[in-house]
Symmetry: C2
Subunit: 429 residues, 2 copies
């Protein structure tokens, strides 16, 4: 058990440097769900210079939660617990935290009134069960939940801080940004960690590493993370300091990387290549349509994930059968017979066909063998032809992509978007 | 430190009941990646009656890994560590496990020869660095890695078992299924846990709970997990026993649930509604095409995720603009003007249009407002009209779906697939 001091109000407090995340919930120990709340928490904390050094998941057991709280609080400055704050019998985080800290749980009329008000707003009477949630740990600050009924907990334990937030993502997020992050910022007034993500298209992770490794000595290997995902590489830079120094140092590194990688850098702090492409086309008032075979609508779905995509994206055709390639895109039947559906000729005809029929500036065509079946010696699983058509030209590429059906499809989407991106800026891929 | 007995060969061993997963790697403590290996491990272990009771993630630090190994092995029968077995300086799992168990690390000529052979197969000379991976913990069994160079570790600690597997998913999976699972099965010779997942379409989680809660007493609340995801609910049943008894008891519960839920049960042990629908249509030799507006290709992409979808799916049109709805689907311009693009009339015209133009048996149409912008008082964000056309009729539904743009789109895909599913079996939605 951890000795709990009386909560101090203000005064000098030590900065928070390290944190741990503890997710509570037996459903997070099955084979279907992961604790994704910790990603959001980690992102917010790291911007304030707090590094997550451990994560745990335990089930709905007072013993296991209490033990985890004790062990974790012993090693970090900040512990963020999520889940187990609801009204049912298996929601025991409140009891477990109280036990780990050796503090009492007391009914709080104020919190009870919050919960009753929430039920009243929906014309419902609060079930007696909910009184469990109206108990407050001695010396803690209850956190209002405007999206659900379970209040959160913020509590100081000597120089350390413990927050218990709901497991429901939106409710967690509300308390994280409204209550916890301002408290962390108050304790870490000068430390700011900036991060910036450079999105690279059309490159391999190993090539990128090779080309930028000369920079590691200067900027520190730990300040640059390389994340690859089927034809897209993200370089995550980070820099610590006050606002100006962090910002200057991150700018300098961005310049160095951009000098080395040139047009391989597709965008800065963007969600993906689709966002880059939509932005490019919007700026030049161009429009786009896509003809997809092996990707079966994935490329269109990715583009239309972006709010406002309708400014540039007219739509597309998923031409899964040869008949549809012919009837909906005007791919000549001769091409299909002579070269097969998976060929450069057909990819080009699809791009040209969708461009003409949808009356847009840019047309995309993708045809390939995503697997697992359908490969031959000449045309193995993973072979994909993709093309970009404009009023002036049609350009095609082909690659044999590695991995499963899902990864071949994802490589195809990324590679086609990147080919378009490079055509638009006039940089040959 | 845990006292380590000499490894016993065979003999009577106690069954393994509880397990923990420990993922090692600083990249798993950032804001971009989760430890997904644990899901696969959990699924395999639970089939043998071993329940995962805790998960942890720690960075590449000997101290932190060793402490986690000690704490976890103290409370469970089986500990599965993943990651940190590679050749570089930050791969320290081997050292940490040796320290936690108080055992020596010794060079193994056999393991060295495995690693050298792997490099030789690629015409490369093994870097000296790799000798780190050729050290074996006293009393452990090294596990061959045929997909990478890092060997795994299997080691008995008194009655408990510790496995250390690579972090790369494919390499982890190889050792899990080839080495660890057979060892667990040998120790748990009679216990088998069967699981079965009933997929429900077109239902709310809370309604499902309400309708089946009378069964909980009989079958045990813990043997039935309800997982909901934007219009699809999965009921995961589990039963423990020998093969026959588990299978009988799971069959009985399936019958009870199916009696209550009837046509809401879309499939058993299937990946999703798309798999159900493809299977239905394949059996009746029918074909399908889809016209999508707000879902922008997501429905087609989901369908073509399924290998062999081309047997039934001809393709589709993403008609993101009104012009494309008119030119590619033949939606009368009057309908668009009189009722707006988001209307029952347009959803029906899209379904009918794609069915005719793609010359298929079934046509789908979806049009809605996915948000975040674009809503009005009459047509709020989340309003989606969806329709199914056959040779005989066209049926439309509309709903106001909750949540973000992504969740409105997902609800739309699920609801449209479910409407099709019910039309095909002649069960009104």
């Amino acid at each position: 058990m951890i000795r709990a001091d009386i909560m101090r109000c203000g005064g000098d407090m030590s900065e928070l440097r390290t944190a741990a995340c503890l997710a509570v919930g037996s459903e997070l120990l099955g084979d279907a769900r992961l604790d994704s709340n910790s990603l959001r928490i980690t992102a917010e904390l790291s911007a304030l210079g707090v590094r997550v050094v451990e994560k745990r998941v335990v089930g709905d057991s007072v013993d296991r939660i209490a033990r985890a709280v004790e062990e974790l609080l012993d090693g970090v400055d900040l512990l963020v617990v999520t889940g187990g704050l609801g009204p049912t019998a298996d929601d025991v985080t409140r009891e477990a935290v109280a036990r780990a800290l050796g503090r009492e749980l007391r009914p709080s009329p104020e919190v009870e009134s919050w919960i009753r008000a929430r039920y009243a707003a929906y014309d419902r009477v609060m079930p007696e069960l909910c009184l469990r949630m109206a108990r407050v740990i001695q010396g803690s600050r209850p956190l209002l939940n405007s999206l659900g009924s379970a209040p959160g907990i913020l509590i100081e334990v000597e120089d350390r801080l413990l927050a218990a937030l709901p497991g429901v993502a939106a409710e967690m997020e509300e308390m994280l940004t409204r209550d916890l992050i301002p408290e962390v910022a108050r304790r870490n007034p000068t430390t700011r960690v900036l991060t910036r993500t450079l999105l690279l298209g059309g490159v391999y992770e190993s090539d990128v590493e090779e080309r930028i490794k000369a920079l590691y000595g200067d900027i520190g290997r730990e300040n640059l993370t390389v994340l690859a995902n089927c034809g897209v590489v993200r370089l995550v830079q980070s820099a610590e300091g006050d606002d100006d120094s962090a910002s200057n140092s991150i700018d300098a590194v961005t310049r160095q990387i951009t000098e080395i990688l040139g047009a391989d850098v597709a965008g800065i702090d963007v969600c993906g290549l689709e966002e880059v492409v939509i932005d490019q086309l919007r700026r030049q008032n161009s429009t786009l349509a896509a003809a997809e075979s092996c990707t079966g609508g994935m490329l269109a779905a990715r583009i239309t994930d972006v709010p406002g995509a309708s400014d540039v994206f007219a739509g597309g055709v998923v031409s899964y059968s040869n008949e549809v390639k012919e009837s909906q895109l005007g791919v000549p039947v001769d091409l299909l017979i002579d070269h097969g559906a998976v060929s450069e000729q057909v990819a080009c005809a699809m791009a040209v066909g969708v461009r003409e029929r949808f009356d847009v500036d840019w047309g995309l065509g993708i045809t390939g063998i995503a697997g697992p079946g359908g490969g031959t010696e000449d045309k193995p699983v993973g072979l994909v032809h993709f093309a970009v058509a404009s009023s002036e030209s049609v350009v095609a590429r082909h690659r044999i992509f590695p991995g499963s059906r899902a990864s071949v499809r994802l490589w195809s989407v990324h590679s086609t978007l990147d080919l378009l991106r490079r055509r638009v800026i006039g940089e040959e891929a």
